[in-house]
Symmetry: C2
Subunit: 293 residues, 2 copies
């Protein structure tokens, strides 16, 4: 069998800021707009959906792959975070990525780096109190990537809903000239939200992890049934999770998806959000629910 065309090539992988800027300048000179998909690698179908969405608009798609230490707490899983660069590059090839930016730490954080960006109240709720410094690390690295890539548009996943809200606010407040697109959560067939951290779960813990989705669906069902108390809804969700030993609940909340403030009684578009820990694996998930009546 003759292969009429070569397999699409893996995109070039560059490590230096100057190189990524030079290639982006060439793409811009050729009339392309620039789309950025910031990732920490360990790419799964959720990331692939972002990369495909970015490619669909005809933009020159830059995927960054960088496990950012400043968004991990000292007791968190920076060192155990999955790193799968070879497979990631296959995902990038399959989704039409034009350029992969995979910098070493020294390229992102120069010696004596000491500049940090924080967003206020939006970063202090939900995951905020459970991950001190996390959103500061996220904002800082995303701002660096925006300064390096100067994208017209950047894509984030709704699984990290608070991150998306915080980044939108940073971009608005600092007047960063980029559009933020937030893409839907991609789930496993049984409902588990795709996460790079799922790879760190044993089969037994994988079953427990699903309880978070089941708890959120319980909350959604109750609200659709006409339950008007956020407290009662959350209590029912907690009961779903309480059935599993060795599963710690960081929070379960019903919030306004834009302001992240608690809503009680829930009304209109609400986000039911939760975070759990199974051993040292922390998982988050959320559902947007429209509550009528």
């Amino acid at each position: 069998m003759t292969r009429e065309t070569a397999d699409p090539q893996r995109p070039p992988v560059v490590a230096a800021v100057a190189d990524v800027r030079a290639r982006i300048a060439r793409a811009r000179a050729a009339g392309r707009s620039i789309a950025l998909v910031p990732t920490m690698g360990a790419l799964h179908a959720g990331h692939a959906s972002l990369l495909k969405a970015a490619a669909q608009g005809g933009a020159f798609v830059v995927a960054s792959i960088y496990v950012n230490p400043t968004q991990f707490g000292p007791a968190e899983d920076f060192h155990n975070y999955p790193r799968t660069l070879e497979r990631d590059l296959d995902v990038c090839r399959e989704t039409g990525v034009d350029l992969v930016f995979a910098p070493p730490h020294s390229e992102m954080y120069a010696e004596n780096d000491q500049t940090r960006i924080r967003v206020g109240a939006l970063a202090e709720t939900l995951c905020g109190p459970h991950r001190p410094g996390h959103f500061e690390g996220v904002c800082t690295v995303v701002a660096k990537l925006f300064c390096i890539v100067a994208p017209d548009v950047a894509y984030f996943g709704r699984k990290d809903a608070q991150q998306a809200v915080v980044i939108r606010r940073m971009v608005r407040d600092l007047h960063i000239p980029a559009r933020i697109e937030v893409c839907p959560i991609v789930r496993e067939p049984d409902g588990l939200a795709m996460s790079s951290r799922n790879a760190r779960l044993s089969a037994e813990d994988r079953a427990k992890a699903l309880a978070l989705y089941q708890a959120l669906k319980t909350g959604e069902w109750l609200l659709h049934q006409g339950e008007t108390s956020a407290g009662k809804t959350i209590a029912a969700m907690r009961a779903v999770l309480a059935a599993h030993s060795d599963l710690k609940v960081d929070y379960l909340s019903i919030v306004n998806p834009d302001t992240l403030e608690d809503v009680d009684p829930p009304r209109g578009d609400c986000m039911i959000a939760g975070a759990i820990r199974i051993g040292d694996v922390r998982l988050i998930d959320n559902l947007i629910v429209n509550v009528t009546g």
Copy 2:
């Protein structure tokens, strides 16, 4: 007498981010590079030297005039800070400014604005402890201006030496693609460093203010004479200031001009820096001294 050419016109003054971006895009399309001179107005010969330096390179010069509230402490002089827009526009005309960006507060800080940028150790010395939050406000507003104007180069005065060091670090750390130029201090004939706040001094206080420069010159003289103790040099400088009643010293320091760390014994390029308060007027000044031997 016939006027062969019309007087140069005052540059256009725009208040909206979208307008300033549109005009800058036209200048870029015409092949101009973009220079930014961020100011709080009340322009004096020091500002004029920055504006002239910016114009000399042939760039399209954007002067911003905005008294930024987030860099003032609650007990500071935000409300009393001199505002002289009409005269400022004459200075802009005379120095060849192409565009003045004079935004209202709501354009720089949208409702619920909550994003802040801080630089670490470099902002925590010298003026830092005396003006909590000051450099965070400076970094935040300068980053906003950089995101709005996207300058190739931005000009700052060396009178605000720590500000220049902090902004250089922010720009380096965040990978902001702008060059920072720092221009020499412009002084009155008697040596007083030009400052918008000088306008707030009575004639009597103006005489006291000069003592800061005299103290710095005393320090410079001692170091050139071979004094090797930073402590003794600073004590002599303090004695110069002690001669004036109602003059409070925030600090007198001899530091490395890049790291802002104390140097003792002083050697090589040193910065002698000081800050005083006369009533509610706070003044700063510095000298760069090369200490040999």
